[in-house]
Amino acid sequence: MEQKKHWQSFGELNQSEAYNKEVKDEFNEDLPFVAEEGNSFLDAKAPRRDFLKYLGFSTAAAAAAASCEMPIKKAIPFANKPEDVVPGVAKYYATTYVQDGDAVSILAKVRDGRPIKIEGNDLSPITKGGTSARVQAAVLDLYDTARLRFPTIDGKEVTFEAADKAIAANITGSVVILTSTVVSPSTKAVINQLLAKYPGSKHVTYDAVSYSAMLLANEATNGVRAIPSYRFDNAKAIVSLGADFLGTWISPVEFARQYAAGKKIDEKNPEMSKHIHFESVASLTGSNADEKYLHRPSETGAIAAALLSAVNGQAITGITDAKLKSGIEKAAKALTAHKGAALVVAGSNDVNIQIIVNAINNAIGAAGTTINWAEIDYTRAGIDAEFAKLVDEMNAGAVGTVLIHGANPVYSWHDAEKVKAGLKKVKTSVSFAAKVDETADLCKFVLPDNHFLESWGDAEIKSGHFSFIQPTISPLFKTRQWQDSLLKLAGSNEDYLAYLKNFWSAKLGGVAGWDKALQDGVVTTSTGVVSGGNFNSAAVAGAVAAINTAKKSGKIELVLYQKVGIGAGQGASNPWLQELPDPVTRATWDNYVIVSPAMAKTLLDIDLNNGGQADAYEVNPPKKVVKVTVDGKTIELPALIIPGTDANTIGIAVGYGRSEKLGKAAAGVGKNAFALACTNGSTVSYTCADVTVVVTGETYPVALTQTHSRYDTAQGNRTEVMKELTLAEYKHKPSEIRDERAKELRGQISGGEKLNNEEVLEKFEAKGTIYPVYDRPGIKWGMNVDLNTCNGCGACVVACNAENNVSVVGKPEVLRGHEMHWLRIDRYYSGDMENPNVVFQPLMCQHCDNAPCENVCPVAATNHSSEGLNQMTYNRCIGTRYCANNCPYKVRRFNWADYTGADSFGDNQRGEVNDVVLDMNDDLTRMVLNPDVTVRSRGVIEKCSFCVQRLQEGKLQAKKDSRPLADSDVKVACQQACPTNAITFGNANSKESAIHIVRKETPNRQFYVLEQLHVMPGVSYLAKVRNSEEVAHHEGGSDKAAHETKEHA
């Protein structure tokens, strides 16, 4: 019997071509992430990261689309799991943070296709895993809602093809490439390729904050227009003339690490480097100095010249102030005593001063020991005069085409109007800015660059130190690397990735070498040999003569400075950085005029030694507004009183007053102070003499996160809060701190007066309470912070924000004391109010074993884990805030409003939270959230968890490997970010752990904050030791006299 034929369609019946094709292809769509054979995944049409990006983005979008009153958020599982991606397990890619000249080797933590956190790269010999606040915050810039999403011509969206065509058609004659300092060797090669194509073209480098004077001075004395490497770790004596090398000067992450090496104390053999600082306005570095001297900025040259005389054994002339003179003598003594292990640095942008500093360094044998000419620092290369010339050329109409990347002179050049006028005369102006900054706003073409986390690239931070950039996510928007744009303009068909790969494969021994370099992130060819260079003293005499004839100012002087977070404005659009309290002033979201307490008395009529006036100043956020006039240019800003500032000098931070187009965080915040800078003909000067300051009669609220700064009160010196002493005292009596602790604790033990000091410390836990004390076997998490190496830079604060999804609340909320930081850095003053000792104390939840917060919660939402963690259960919390009241450290933070959009009440943010907060809740910005950490809703308390998610991950890892937990398994975010390794963390019960060893080996400096309360904190501190001869540590005394001598009613 003939087999019966069944058919479902005419196509099947007729076996038509279309039908056959359909049958064949039915299940045969290309998997989007599978690469062609032989190629890497990244070469596939739609590489793996694309897939992950779409996945991540669509999840977020789906979640967003579903967010009506009660948001239902869906997580879509992988239908086809990419081979090497395990959902929920982070991957780390080595790459490099590059912003303007700054370059730091980093690892980007990528979860499910999106980078969420930046960590330092331990393999980098420069930073050794350290980061800064700005590096930590850079991941948020990737998800900035203000980023340009497509190329534009005259502000209108176009395609890259159209833009390329239009630009090519508009280039006639030569081009000028204007960039910030380029650290990438391959980019320099690309630039050269373009310059070669258009004869007569040139590349001008412009740094927002100029280091021209150093470059020129080094050219004059060493024959090289470059900045050498500094080795603070080799220096036993450091003298800084206003160089903020821990905060903003050249390479602070590197210098902080080196500097900390000299500040680490071995208890058995206590030695420290000596750092003497001369400055006019309180800075982060000055705050860390062992000794600090204040002077007018116009005196810097005279001080440098005097120091040169003194190290050469000549008498000091030209310095009348006795204090200052003795400071110079002390500095000279320290420098000459440590010849060959001494270093002088200066922050001034005056060539003569830098030449004199070079001469001093030569005299004290710094070259070849603390200054290394074998490793040139490539992060700063801009010469002011070259840019000034370009501005003139543009105004003369001599420039037809200008291509701008990184540089933003319309904002940061002191004569911005001239730049604007010049730019208008340029026919073809192209900006590669990622956001419409002040300069891009005036350019005809804007071809947005990728964020560095979306880019390929390389960086030669110093000669012989290479760091590589690889993308961690596909470009989120229609953006293109600017090198690709340059290659297009240069007429090359190659794309930048291929170019880069060829460039490096050739150098690194093929593709394997390139792959390895990408994996490690760094390649070091430098041999580590320290070279001294050749010093030529010919220019010194002229420099000294020029300094001696410089005019002296009799009036108030001004210093423009950079803040650690904001820099020259790079951080202004980043909400994490805006909300990061400035380490020195503890202010957020504004720039202001810094005045000294002495000036406050005469100018503002506020006497900080008068209890009532000091209180009124502290407790009321509105500060008096002053009008500063320099050379006919004026600026009105509120005045903050910052001790440690010269009595005749005021300071204003640059980097504020940015364009509204840079985003909600930048808009309307502060005022641009760059305009107040001036030029001395060859270099830009960030100090001005003859400034007039008048009080306007208005007030303006400044959002400070700390209002009181002395732990010495009229009722007693709160030494339980902070312990500091000098090296001399410490050497004289190493047990000073221990004895003091015993004295504080003795009264808490019944019969304590019969015990000796060691017995008191030993028995305090058991005898200081009426309750029984239990053993704590197993893991006991503990932390130690070395106050000697902590310099207060704030990297940990931002790292904590990023790791733990800490909300940004915006200025109005900070003003009301609603900031959410889990980790803060308290800054305390002691000693003379005009020039105090400063100490920084990072304070996070102390994870007390006998926690006062735990027993007061009516619903047991906060409780103690068996591993010594003070835990917070958000969904049990009903928000009574009793725990926060009862926390002696005040580290608990309450969600006062719906900062996260995680609330079950819909539509309750508008009008109640700041625009910046709303922006942080944008679906794009929310991609930065760490999926391992719950986003807290309104009405609950939150606080430091010791990064419990990391602890769990580390424990699981050890468990999987069937081995005991090791220190390397667990690094908390603040510890990882710290450039100086001031934070030690681990299992205090393990004999091998670093925390155990630190606590065992440094008994003499160890203390617990408010130990006498018997809350048994889990965080120990090592007392601050200052290498000065002064005896700073005593009860009350002069501290008291200087401070609140308040009468009681």
Partner: protein
């Protein structure tokens, strides 16, 4: 031989020669009459305040505690200040009813009903604050120890806030029962006089079928005694436990062992002041000067000067201990944050001192004690002072505690914080106006009880006896 005995010291508890009928007429009249214009005005103002309070709370619940000016350092401000203040006010009622009942103080009868009502309403107002000061009030039921499906998740019995939950709910329940059991015979009286069916029905239900039988009276008396016995320790315990919220903490200025007696004395102080405020108005408005006599007022003023002085001693003890302990943290709180007039909150401490300690001393003078205007004025001053006291304890301790780095900016309330407080005034007076209209504001039965032994009638009766020859009297009374 004379049988006349008239106390030279004790005044009559009820003025005038009242009969039982008259007493009933006087007290029930306002319930049966149409309310006056004044009542309407007062009632509407109270309701308006209540509505503003409801809106303030609505904002706080919807937008968060950020509607208030509390901050990272000052976690409690007006909210808990108002809570403690209202709880304190809520003390006098039960004290008058229970303790004075046990001590057989006849003068309590004139004021106990209204004082108890005040207690109940004040505790209702107080309860709003700990509930709505929660960040997530919709989860407030977590504080109740109920069997749940969350595993062994229980409340934290170590927390003073939890003790508050029990203390206040118990106090409220017992006070309510005590008050209501006293109302039953009076409701029955109103029921019996009712002229509409609805009234009869409503007051009938409210009086639980009271017939006035001896058995009923016997049980009523027993119940009153039992409840008085229960309430007496509660009067002391509630504010003791409220004081534990502070006393058991570690914050300088809170961590103080004298808090329990000091808080209880303060509570009685403010409670009596509030009773004075209300009773002076009520006796005037309802014409009940004969029942709430100047003697009552004087008695309460004596309590005020006594408790005010106890509180004053407590303040001085704190200051002394702040110095004597040589604890620099306490020293700072007591001597600088509080007692130093020119410190940011110095004004509140000295406001407290002036209102609570200095001004009540005028009641050492009999003339002042018996002056209605002075009493009324002082009753308000005392309550302002007691509000300051709680504000001082809470805010000046918190805003500058252990770490100088965390010292707070100046805390002052937002309009919504004030609105919440105003709202509880609205609630209180709304309740009180309704009470005054629909409930007998003076315990009719109890007045009748004391009428036999006090007042003009008693005097006349005694005078009659006095004029009688002894033989007649013996003859009359010997059976």
């Amino acid at each position: 031989m004379h049988l006349k005995y008239e106390s030279q010291l004790r005044e009559p508890l009820v003025y005038g020669d009242k009969t039982y009928k008259q007493v009933t007429e006087d007290i029930v009249r306002p319930i049966e009459a149409k309310p006056t214009k004044l009542w309407y005005i007062g009632f509407y103002i109270a309701v308006a305040l209540l509505m503003f309070g409801v809106y303030s709370v609505y904002r706080e619940v919807t937008y968060g505690i950020g509607q208030w000016n509390l901050n990272k350092t000052v976690g409690w401000g007006w909210d808990i200040t108002n809570f403690v203040w209202w709880v304190g006010i809520g003390h006098a009622g039960t004290l008058i009813s229970a303790i004075l009942l046990l001590f057989r103080q006849g003068w309590r009868t004139g004021v106990n009903r209204a004082a108890e009502a005040m207690t109940i309403f004040a505790v209702m107002c107080a309860g709003q604050f700990p509930i709505f000061h929660m960040g997530r009030v919709w989860m407030a039921f977590f504080v109740l120890p109920y069997p749940n499906t969350r595993g062994p998740l229980w409340v934290n019995f170590n927390s003073p806030l939890l003790w508050d939950v029990f203390a206040i709910s118990t106090y409220f329940t017992v006070s309510l029962l005590f008050w209501y059991s006293g109302l039953i015979p009076d409701f029955a009286t109103v029921r019996d006089r009712a002229f509409t069916k609805l009234r009869k029905k409503l007051y009938g239900v409210a009086s639980f079928g009271w017939t006035g039988s001896t058995k009923h009276w016997q049980r009523h008396e027993s119940l009153s005694l039992v409840l008085a016995g229960l309430s007496t320790p509660l009067v002391l315990s509630v504010h003791t436990i409220v004081s534990f919220d502070f006393a058991t903490s570690v914050i300088p200025g809170w961590h103080t062992t004298i808090f329990p007696p000091y808080f209880v004395a303060g509570a009685i102080f403010s409670g009596f002041a509030m009773v004075q405020t209300l009773m002076i108005i009520v006796r005037k408005v309802f014409g009940m000067e004969d029942y709430v006599t100047i003697g009552h007022i004087e008695a309460m003023n004596k309590v005020i000067v006594l408790t005010g002085s106890i509180v004053g001693i407590a303040y001085l003890t704190e200051l002394f201990m702040g110095w004597y302990s040589q604890n620099k943290y306490e020293g700072y709180t007591f001597w600088y944050s509080r007692a130093y007039l020119f410190s940011p909150y110095g004004w509140s401490y000295w406001g407290m001192m002036a209102c609570n300690v200095l001004s009540p001393q005028i009641f050492w003078f009999r003339k002042m004690r018996r002056n209605i205007f002075v009493t009324f004025f002082m009753s308000i001053i005392v309550n302002i002072g007691m509000w300051f006291e709680r504000f001082v304890i809470i805010v000046t301790s918190l805003y500058r505690d252990y770490l100088p780095s965390s010292w707070s900016v100046y805390y002052s309330p937002t309009i919504w914080e004030i609105g919440f407080y105003a709202g509880t005034f609205g609630l209180f007076f709304t309740c009180f106006f309704l009470f005054a209209k629909y409930f007998p504001v003076i315990a009719i039965a109890e007045i009748k009880y004391v009428l036999k032994t006090t007042g003009e009638g008693y005097k006349n009766q005694m005078a009659g006896i006095e004029e009688q020859p002894l033989e007649d009297f013996v003859h009359q009374h010997a059976h």
